[in-house]
């Protein structure tokens, strides 16, 4: 491990300072969009499609329009008649209409919107809208969507122009595949022919819900000067501004997007969701309008991709990985949302962080008549890690090799080429693996299995169980190219303001940015105020997602603060008659490095420059990372990202042999965070990711029947609760400073989510000798797998249960 940074000078950075928003949040005073009330505000409700795929023949909104309290009813047919309105939106393809035009594509597709005096009146009126549908045959899963002659979810597609990395994408014509990522490296077929062993498996990972505490909510209104003000629960205020400006034909200056605290996002609140329809209603009624989803609507708005991964690996007799061929099928639902980027970014990591000379990857983004899938913490990587880390484990086990040692031997090292041809750097994956293995005392038993468990007794009743240990690693690349702008204002009293479009969604960005500014300017963390996103004043930022804010916004803020510091030092150097390079800032003072008592307080520096109170020094910066686009045919790029982030997990599980239920007894998860700005927050992020992922590994799954979601509420869809958290769970920080990171930091938002499922699956295999390939690992699946594998033994067990003894 290497360390860089400021050494003993680092006082605000590198310390677990308390959250700047902590007291406000735990006392319930923090305001969220749902608390936003604008005088004269109307409430909106949506009528949604009951069918997965149908042509809209006729809509009669007459009864709704005359319902008491109703101000406006809008349908897709109205949209096409509005002059200057482009009714389609979407970050990759502009494939989603504000309200369905001509046809509906999933159960839950918004068909009409109502604005009324109360939420109840709006909902009642929405139910009075009569829609006549002509049902079309639907494609309800990926297999159906890929069949020759399958009905098309979209007949034509229009790429969006919002992001550089997505500008080149082209949809395949007359199929439901809206994007196909290809990676070709080496000669896979020849390598397979030379391989001593070939492993081929199919792994699946189901659709799952983000379940943020706060549902999607947007308030829109038009203020003086024709300014469209939208306050919204979004992770991407800058993108939403751009999208609204385009939809409504407004200059960017006439769209103001503000985001207060966000009540959790996890990717669900990226790109446009409710903003276009809410803004439309506000413009139509010239009244403020609020739209807030119910939990049930939340379930059909966005989810984590259901994925099927076919993975084939050729291995030499000595265990070297010769070739890997991966085909990944992503069920993206009815609208692409950001799916093509998921398919691309996760696609090129689908062979894993291993030294494999021959790689072939095909990653397919497939439209189906299901609710849309999009970004979810990890951005598709956990689904492909589930496949490649389960199979890597199977390879080690089959060859009789220790899974940890096997991985260590074949993991990429500094300077090695990734499957994309990108040289790896700042990659502490082996250190992460070693850390988690140590934490669960790996090595006490062959191939990860624990010593046979003693009989477990509960309430005096014996239970027969087996225990096992498993590990997994994961890798993800930071989004590139990407851009963060920031403004830092230092006030005459030594307090500072940060203008940034990074959304504080619970991850701790307010505290982190305050720490960076406090460190750079030598002021106190509590005196730094981070101004929440307001596109009227906060500069462009690509998005608060993708584990990018610490690195990108951190750098932007650091550079902006450095520009303030330059001005501060320039003034002070005049007054102190010393070269500015010799000056330092700390404890609210500017002083000479080798003569600390020679200095000025910040108010004294301001006094020297300005003859007025309350003045400011302002610094601005835009931090931009670049990348070389992957080649269309080979997926190769010398620089696919600027930053890799890697992690590892280790689990010890206990499986009940009669029920199949898996209990995680011990769990450790490590993330290479670079140099942590706030170690405690890093550990919390790692822990939070792990707990969420444990729920997704063991029981979370969205069930569909005929395109209809059947467990779309918290009655029937469970997320991990406190009592589902393993009794021992340890988040571990691994530090490999990034040369370009702010103070060496990388980021940590997703790292803890990458490898959880595979570690648990591998532990189950170690316990039972049975490999499960479908998530979640429900007890029924585990029991079934045990019985299918060894029917004879199961039958004997059955007799033991019933027979004497």
């Amino acid at each position: 491990m290497t360390r860089t940074g400021e050494g003993r000078d680092a006082r605000a950075v590198g310390r677990s300072v308390p959250r700047v928003d902590g007291a406000e949040k735990v006392t319930g005073r923090a305001a969220y969009v749902t608390d936003c009330v604008v005088p004269g505000m109307l409430h909106a409700a949506l009528l949604r499609s009951p069918l997965p795929h149908a042509r809209i023949r006729r809509i009669d909104a007459g009864r709704a329009a005359t319902h008491p309290g109703v101000s406006a009813v809008v349908t897709g047919a109205d949209l096409v008649q509005m002059p200057g309105l482009d009714p389609y939106f979407g970050p990759a393809f502009q494939d989603q209409a504000i309200l369905a035009i001509d046809k509906v594509r999933f159960v839950g597709d918004p068909v009409a919107a109502v604005a009324a005096a109360t939420r109840e009146a709006a909902r009642e009126a929405a139910q009075l809208i009569e829609v006549e549908y002509e049902e079309l045959s639907a494609v309800l899963d990926v297999q159906a969507a890929l069949r020759a002659g399958a009905p098309l979810v979209h007949e034509r597609l229009r790429p969006s122009q919002a992001f550089a990395d997505l500008m080149g994408i082209e949809a395949e014509r007359q199929t439901n595949v809206c994007y196909h990522f290809k990676l070709r490296r080496g000669d896979v077929e020849r390598a397979f022919a030379e391989a001593a062993h070939v492993f081929e498996d199919t792994y699946t990972s189901p659709a799952a819900q983000h379940a943020p505490l706060e549902p999607h909510v947007t308030v829109a209104w038009v203020t003086e000067g024709g300014l469209l003000h939208v306050t919204s629960s979004t992770q991407s205020p800058s993108y939403v501004r751009l999208s609204l400006a385009r939809i409504f034909g407004l200059p960017l200056s006439k769209v103001r997007v503000t985001v207060p605290y966000l009540g959790g996002g996890y990717g669900a609140k990226t790109y446009d969701k409710l903003e276009p329809v809410t803004a439309l209603l506000a413009l139509r009624t010239r009244r403020p309008v609020k739209l807030q989803l119910t939990r049930e609507e939340e379930f059909v708005t966005i989810h984590k991709h259901a994925v099927t991964t076919r993975i084939r690996t050729g291995v030499a007799a000595d265990g070297r990985l010769l070739a890997r061929e991966v085909a990944v099928y992503w069920d993206s639902g009815a609208y692409a949302d950001i799916a093509p980027r998921v398919v691309h970014k996760s696609g090129y990591t689908a062979a894993g962080p291993y030294a494999i000379p021959n790689v072939k990857i095909d990653s397919y983004c497939v439209y189906t008549n299901r609710p849309p899938a999009g970004a979810f913490r990890g951005f598709g990587v956990p689904q492909v890690v589930w496949a490649y880390e389960s199979q890597t484990d199977a390879i080690a086990t089959r060859l009789g090799l220790d899974p940890v040692a096997y991985r260590r031997a074949h993991l990429l090292r500094e300077g090695d080429l990734f499957a994309t041809g990108t040289p790896m750097r700042s990659l502490a994956v082996i250190e992460c693996l070693d850390a988690v293995a140590r934490e669960i005392e790996w090595g006490s038993g062959l191939a990860g299995s624990s010593p046979p468990a003693p009989e477990v007794r509960e309430a005096g009743v014996p239970r027969r169980v087996l225990r096992g240990k498993g590990v997994a690693v994961g890798i993800k690349a930071a989004l590139a190219p990407s851009i963060s702008g920031a403004t830092v204002m230092l006030n005459a009293d030594g307090s500072a303001s940060v203008l940034s479009s990074t959304v504080e969604m619970g991850q701790g960005s307010d505290t982190l940015l305050a720490q960076i500014v406090a460190e750079a300017l030598g002021v106190r963390v509590p005196d730094v105020q981070v101004v929440h996103p307001d596109t009227a004043v906060t500069p462009y930022d690509t998005i608060t997602a993708a584990t990018r804010s610490t690195f990108h916004m951190g750098n932007a803020v650091l550079q902006a603060a450095a520009r303030v510091r330059e001005q501060l030092f320039a003034i002070a150097s005049d007054r102190l008659e010393v070269d500015p390079d010799l000056l330092r800032a700390r404890d609210g003072r500017v002083f000479v490095a080798e003569a600390e008592d020679r200095g000025l307080t910040i108010p004294e520096v301001f006094g020297a420059a300005f003859q007025a109170a309350g003045t400011t020094l302002v610094g601005e910066a835009v931090y931009q990372t670049s990348a070389i686009p992957t080649d269309h045919e080979t997926g190769q790029s010398e620089r696919v990202t600027v930053m890799w982030f890697v992690g590892a997990s280790a689990a010890e599980v206990e499986v009940d042999l009669e029920t199949g239920q898996v209990r995680v007894l011990r769990f450790a998860t490590a993330a290479d965070v670079g140099r942590p700005i706030n170690p405690h927050h890093c550990r919390q992020q790692i822990l939070g990711s792990a707990v969420t992922s444990i729920g997704q590994t063991l029981f979370e799954c969205l069930h569909f029947e005929g395109g209809q979601l059947t467990n779309g509420s918290f009655l029937d869809y469970m997320i991990a609760g406190y009592r589902d958290v393993p009794p021992i769970i340890t988040p571990i920080i691994v530090e490999r400073a990034h040369p370009e990171g702010p103070y060496g930091a990388k980021g940590v938002g997703e790292t803890g989510a990458l490898s959880v499922a595979a570690a648990i699956g591998n532990a189950v295999h170690a316990a039972l000798g049975v490999r499960l390939r479908d998530l979640p690992l429900t007890p029924e699946r585990v029991l079934q797998a045990m019985r299918e594998r060894e029917p004879a033994r199961a039958a004997r067990r059955g007799q033991v249960e019933r027979g004497p003894g």
Binding site: R123, R295, A459, G460, V461, T659, N711, L715, P779, E801
Partner: protein, 297 residues
């Protein structure tokens, strides 16, 4: 959606209000009703709230060691009541496992039973405790054995306009009891719930065995025909397994996302056996019931 909330002060008045509007619905804790509303079922225009009726949530000692529990007592009130904890710890143990503490503070025991959902926890312990439901309708009052109360999916023996007012739990013989809730995650409904009560004679042999299962049929199941096999026998692993086979043969699981029909039947067998053994161990350790002290938990 708008509705009228009627707030009678007596049970007779409540029943009378329903007689005037047969579409009205009785409201107790409201947790189930709220769920139905959120699932898109239209709420009735008229709700008859039972919450303002004095005395309907009282918990009192019954004759000879039994208990009377007012229908409007919340699950939490019942769970924490000293009489319940002392006389029927099995019930307190089961209620502790229902949903979460916020729901338990709102949901009522009477409402829980009247709802007739197949996957609720409280019916299982109440079935093995031999509870009687007291119901009042326009025609008067009657008692219904809980064993005859559950008829099918969301179907109970209650007549339209009848309201549950009280639950009577008769004295239990000195025995050990347990409720095992088997769920896929900590906040979930049960995949299977199993309640068992085992009474032993002085030689540690079975005097009486009672077992009820929930979530494994359209209605909670009180397993029949166990005593014939068990009476006079020590509760061995073998006996428990044979009794569990009898139980598994009496369930008719409807597959849901918590388990297929096959899996639920298998789990009915597993948890029937575990519950019987656990109840027997408690009976051996120190039975509760008439004139006995609190159990060893």
């Amino acid at each position: 959606m708008g509705f009228d909330l009627l707030e009678p002060r007596t049970v007779a008045e409540a029943v009378e209000l329903h007689a005037r509007d047969g579409n009205a619905v009785f409201l107790a804790g409201g947790t189930a009703l709220l769920i139905l509303q959120r699932q898109g079922l239209p709420l009735p225009r008229r709700l008859i709230s039972l919450r303002g009726i004095p005395g309907l949530d009282e918990i009192t000692a019954g004759p000879g060691g039994g208990l009377r529990i007012g229908a409007l007592a919340t699950l939490r009130q019942v769970e924490r009541h000293p009489l319940v904890v002392r006389r029927v710890p099995l019930l307190a143990e089961a209620l502790r496992q229902v949903a979460n503490v916020r729901v338990r503070h709102t949901a009522t025991l009477g409402g829980n039973l009247a709802h007739g959902d197949y996957r609720l926890d409280p019916p299982a312990p109440l079935l093995v405790l031999g509870a009687q439901v007291r119901a009042v309708g326009i025609g008067g009052e009657r008692e219904i054995a809980l064993a005859a109360f559950f008829r099918g999916l969301f179907e109970t023996a209650l007549q339209p306009g009848e309201v549950v007012t009280e639950l009577a739990i008769p004295p239990t013989p000195p025995s050990g009891g347990t409720y095992l809730k088997y769920a896929l995650s900590s906040n979930d409904w049960p995949c299977v719930g199993a309640a068992a009560l085992v009474a032993l004679d002085d030689h540690g042999r079975c005097r009486e065995v009672r077992l009820a299962l929930t979530a494994v049929a359209a209605a909670p199941v009180l397993v029949r025909g166990l005593d014939e096999l068990a009476r006079g026998e020590p509760v061995s692993d073998r006996l428990a397994a044979r009794l569990a086979d009898i139980a598994a043969a009496q369930v008719e699981p409807v597959g849901d996302q918590r388990g297929s029909e096959w899996y639920k039947r298998e789990m009915a067998r597993v948890f029937a056996r575990r519950a019987l053994l656990a109840a027997a161990r408690r009976a051996e350790a120190g039975p509760v019931g008439d004139g006995t002290k609190e159990p060893v938990a």
